[in-house]
């Protein structure tokens, strides 16, 4: 990512951050209810699956939202060792607002990254050292009560892998930590 793109992305992130913070101030996030039906009723319609099927048409600029706790962040950075490198759950901006990701967790925070931020072809010197080259991409895995739900899967070529080498893991986490943007700080 060029430095100009990085600065623009940071500025847009700041705007989103202000928007989400304002949303938290103006409208208290809906809290979890024991009555499932009541809970479903209060969920925004945009995240209810209904009859919609799987949609894998991701664009590089689409945003992905992941919830975080105070334990996950320091200053304005999501700590690298706290990233899950396989099957990480995220919400997709195409079908949700940033605050939908913490619908059931009103005190948690939101970290945002884009599809293009996901690490590709790691580890970087993998071809030289002949280790398994891993790429990661989002996969739409809708839930009935959260249509925007996606998971970050790791691939070797076109084959999905459940594990990756130590160096790839380290690079994945460092890259994600560098590129993740804290939209909303957690209250707990």
């Amino acid at each position: 990512m060029s430095s100009l793109t990085g600065v623009i992305d940071q500025m847009l992130g700041k705007f989103s951050q202000a928007r989400v913070t304002l949303h938290r101030l103006l409208q208290r996030f809906s809290s979890f209810s024991s009555a499932r039906r009541a809970q479903m009723a209060r969920r925004p319609k945009r995240i209810i699956q209904g009859i919609r099927g799987v949609d894998d048409r991701f664009q590089s600029g689409h945003k992905l939202y992941h919830r975080c706790t105070a334990e996950d962040i320091t200053d304005d950075r999501f700590l690298p060792p706290r990233w899950r490198y396989f099957d990480m759950s995220v919400n997709w901006s195409k079908y949700s607002k940033p605050w939908d990701v913490i619908f059931d967790y009103p005190n948690e925070g939101i970290v945002r990254f884009t599809v293009r931020d996901l690490p590709q072809e790691i580890p970087r010197d993998g071809r030289v050292n002949r280790v398994k080259i891993i790429s990661s991409s989002p996969v739409h895995v809708p839930y009935p009560d959260n249509y925007s739900h996606c998971e970050i899967h790791a691939f070797h070529g076109s084959t999905r892998v459940k594990n990756m080498g130590a160096l790839a893991k380290k690079e994945f986490r460092t890259i994600m930590s560098d590129r993740g943007f804290i939209l909303l700080r957690p209250l707990v």
């Binding site: 600065v7 940071q10 334990e71 996950d72 320091t74 200053d75 304005d76 950075r77 700590l79 690298p80 060792p81 706290r82 990233w83 899950r84 490198y85």
Partner: protein, 120 residues
């Protein structure tokens, strides 16, 4: 500082190695956590040392408090906790203060050194 750090021989690794479960290991472990904080009021006289005391306390809590583990992650293994402790002792000895001590997403312990990110 160095003389004080040398007094921190809390850990007897060999005697703990054969414990059956992480719980029993953690409870019976020879690390005198209480003494770190009780005996060392004068030892932890500076802010720097107090910050280290916080890290030791956090490491201790990682073994038992589920809220500190990432969602879906395993509890930090006892070897991870032990090595985390050894590493922290070394950092204390070297006057090298970590930013945070956290449970990692795959049952480990991470000692983090994070620079502040500069924006614009």
């Amino acid at each position: 500082m160095e003389a004080s750090a040398n007094t921190l021989s809390y850990l007897t690794l060999e005697s703990n190695a054969s414990s059956a479960t992480a719980d029993s290991w953690w409870n019976k472990c020879n690390i005198p956590w209480g003494s770190i904080f009780a005996q060392t009021n004068e030892y932890y006289a500076t802010t720097f040392d107090k910050q280290f005391a916080t890290h030791f306390a956090k490491l201790r809590a990682l073994g038992t408090e589920r809220a500190l583990w990432p969602d879906g992650a395993e509890r930090p293994s006892r070897s991870a906790l032990t090595w985390g402790y050894v590493a922290l002792q070394q950092f204390l000895h070297d006057n090298f203060l970590p930013t945070r001590v956290v449970a990692s997403a795959e049952g480990g312990v991470a000692i983090c050194f994070c620079p502040r990110r500069q924006i614009f």
